[in-house]
């Protein structure tokens, strides 16, 4: 039997009003009831008998959940954490485990990375819930990726600030004075509310900040006591959420930019993290068509259709006007370093021609922090327009259209025809390059990409893995023309993003009935492969193609470079960089987590049949993994 002094027990007057009803109004009413009741003081003879109550049917977490629900958050990804146990229980019981539904994760990094991938498809955040100390420490990498990728994520950090409320030594090791400090350098905002009303306002504020461009992760510290103690505050209410209107570039500056663009002989548009939505992609097409201008897509988002005649036709060295839209690093875009290796490195050389005008439109001007250096080198441009790219494009398009005379339109059309020829040549070159290594074993990524395309092109497909380490072959061979067909990469290049982000994105695609494909790097999967189990457990259909090149081949190159520079043995560069001896059996790994695993596939002739079999499995609503053994780096 528990001691009468056990913490967490509370004494109430016998016969206190039963708590009924749900929702914020009901809870406010119940809080009023609780406020009005009297409690017998020690040694006092109360008119009503004092009894010990070991239950609490109205914990604060219920109200917290009402706040979370009010924002339309559909999922909470979490590895169970005792400091979040109150909220956890409210989600599954009080909330019925629906909107939000709890997603069982095997690692906090997976929780946040799932939210990262989900947000890029769904356009809104899911919530992650982690221990304020050890869980946050696990989650840091994924939070940093979301920060660098400008993706909204809401992370709840469970914590117990009241030292006398900590139940054991473990709770001391799992508590912090300032739990969010380790992620403050790469979150937009955080708070540690000390009351339920404070939680409500901070959570709604956090959501609003996360969703305002430039978007990013936010954190709310949820006190253990606040979650678990009965609701005693009166007049609790959930603040109204009104989305912040995205900041638009200055109209005068846009008019000046329009003049430059319309009069330019060879304008080049570069898109970074521009298209937050499908509308952003439509706008960029409209701008390109209006100007008959090249668009170089950095593929951080699905900005521009790959089959559009102006796609990736721009030569920055020949540009007289270079317009960058939500581009992080204009310096590297406009400069070359040779050699790239640090010893003997010449000063960076500007590649743009004399007199070229460089104009940037970016929301990043509105948010900079100092410690982590993701802001890149100083943005030395001719015009720097602070504003969200997508929100600014409509006025830029309108301004350009007003300036284009019929004569100018004819000249622009001639330029467009030349760009279309370049696009055709680029495509033919890609096809010719795809033949190289066509029959090779290990498999060439171009062959796998072509085999995949043949079988998914008639589906409503979505590629949720970055193809950067796959020679960009899907980008080069497939016809990407919908916003959800590509979501870019991790942002911070923190390894371990790929698999969980793909599962999160596939979850978002599931309700639309889309066929989701992930190209999964082997090194990345080994960080937290438990997310394969999460995909199975939550019945998330997803085709995973392993890019199993059995190593960290970019690092093989770097270590080889260092050895060569030192005139030492380059053949030893595989030490510490290759995943061999033994080879990892990814199909077996998938099976261990309950997922269907196919492979390893080493022969080109076996790729097509394996994909066919896998597609049937995905169409039954299940995830499946094909282990394809591939070349080193594309």
């Amino acid at each position: 039997m528990a001691s009468k002094n056990s913490r967490g027990r509370r004494s109430f007057l016998k016969g206190a009003a039963a708590i009924v009803g749900t929702g914020p109004i009901a809870m406010a009413q119940q809080a009023q009831v609780a406020q009005n009741r009297s409690v017998a003081a020690p040694g006092e003879t109360a008119s009503a008998a004092r009894v010990e109550v070991l239950t609490n049917e109205r914990p604060g977490a219920d109200f917290m959940l009402e706040v979370i629900k009010s924002l339309g958050i559909d999922y909470v990804a979490a590895n169970p954490a005792s400091s979040c146990r109150g909220l956890h229980e409210s989600i599954i019981n009080y909330g019925g485990n629906k909107a939000p539904e709890l997603l069982t994760c095997c690692h906090e990094e997976s929780s946040v990375a799932m939210a990262h991938g989900y947000a890029k498809i769904e356009g809104k955040p899911m919530m992650s819930m982690v221990h304020g100390t050890v869980g946050t420490q696990h989650a840091t990498m994924a939070i940093y990726n979301a920060w660098c990728d400008r993706v909204p994520a809401i992370v709840i950090l469970g914590n117990e600030m009241d030292a006398v409320a900590r139940r054991s030594f473990v709770e001391w090791t799992h508590s912090a004075q300032d739990a969010a400090v380790i992620i403050r350098d790469y979150t937009k905002w955080d708070d540690a509310p000390s009351s339920l009303q404070h939680f409500a306002e901070s959570f709604v504020r956090a959501y609003k900040i996360a969703m305002t461009p430039p978007m990013g992760p936010v954190a709310i510290v949820a006190s253990g006591k606040l979650q678990e103690e009965p609701i005693e505050e009166k007049d609790l209410r959930i603040p109204k959420y009104s989305p912040t209107i995205s900041p638009q570039g200055d109209s005068g500056a846009i008019a000046e930019l329009a003049k430059l663009l319309v009069n330019a002989e060879n304008p080049v548009i570069v898109a970074g993290r521009l298209a937050r939505t499908a509308y952003g992609m439509k706008l960029l097409v409209e701008l390109a068509d209006t100007l008959q201008a090249s668009v170089n897509d950095q593929r951080n988002r699905m900005n521009f259709p790959t089959a559009h005649p102006f796609y990736n036709t721009g030569n920055i060295a020949n540009a007289d006007v270079l317009l960058t839209l939500e581009v992080e690093d204009t310096f590297m875009l406009t400069h070359r370093m040779s050699p790239l290796n640090r010893i003997g490195m010449d000063p960076a050389r500007r590649i743009t021609k004399d007199g070229a005008k460089i104009v940037s439109i970016s929301s990043l001007e509105l948010l900079q922090k100092s410690n982590y250096q993701d802001f890149a080198r100083y943005n030395e441009v001719d015009m720097n327009i602070a504003g969200d790219g997508e929100a600014t494009l409509p006025i830029l398009i309108e301004a350009c259209k007003k300036l284009i005379t019929p004569d100018r339109k004819r000249a622009l059309a001639e330029r467009g025809a030349k760009l279309a020829e370049i696009h055709t040549r680029n495509h033919e070159q890609s096809l010719a390059q795809a033949t190289l290594g066509w029959d090779s074993s290990p498999l060439a990524p171009a062959r796998i990409s072509a085999e995949l395309w043949a079988q998914i092109k008639n589906e409503d497909w979505s590629l949720v893995g970055n193809d950067g380490f796959f020679g960009r072959w899907p980008t080069r061979l497939w016809n990407f023309d919908k916003h959800y067909q590509f979501i870019g990469g991790s942002g911070g290049e923190g390894v371990g993003y790929g698999a969980p982000a793909a599962v999160g994105a596939a979850l978002a695609n599931k309700k639309y009935g889309r066929f989701t494909v992930n190209i999964q790097n082997d090194g990345d999967l080994n960080y937290a492969p438990g997310v394969l189990w999460t995909a199975v457990h939550h019945q998330i259909p997803l085709l995973t193609i392993m890019n199993n090149n059995r190593g960290y081949h970019q690092e093989v190159m770097f270590v080889t470079t260092m050895a060569a520079r030192a005139n030492r043995d380059v053949s030893r560069a595989g030490i510490g960089t290759k995943l061999i001896e033994p080879n990892i059996d990814y199909a077996g790994m998938a099976r261990a987590y309950g997922m269907q695993g196919i492979g390893p596939i080493t022969e080109p002739k076996d790729v097509g049949p394996a994909i066919k079999r896998a597609i049937e499995i995905v169409k039954r609503g299940e995830p499946v993994l094909i282990d394809t053994v591939t070349q080193g780096r594309g």
């Binding site: 070359r336 081949h553 080193g632 594309g634």
Partner: protein, 121 residues
Amino acid sequence: MRPTTFLALAFVLAFALPLAQAQNATGAAPVGNAENGKRLWVKDNCYSCHGFDGHGGAGAKLAPKPIAAAAFIAFVRHPSASSMPTFSSKVVPDADLRDMWAYLNSIPAPPTAKDIPLLNQ
């Protein structure tokens, strides 16, 4: 003299001319052992960027039809590509490079794109 100019001159004197002379003297491309070249190609991690059969990837396409052996060796000694490491003869001797070149030269041409149905979708 700028360091880059000096390096370029040193390159010509040290490598390009002797190789060119060697080729001119024999009138034929240097002979290498393709089988040993294949082994070295993997051992020295060339495959990591250029593919097991030299078809390219993160690194340049080298096969089929590699550039002339002398040019190949000269490039390895002083690559112009920013991400290609410089390999001195102490790290990879000329004989090894000749063997690798022979391996690359032995790689057959792939089918053309128009002959591959999957590339004509």
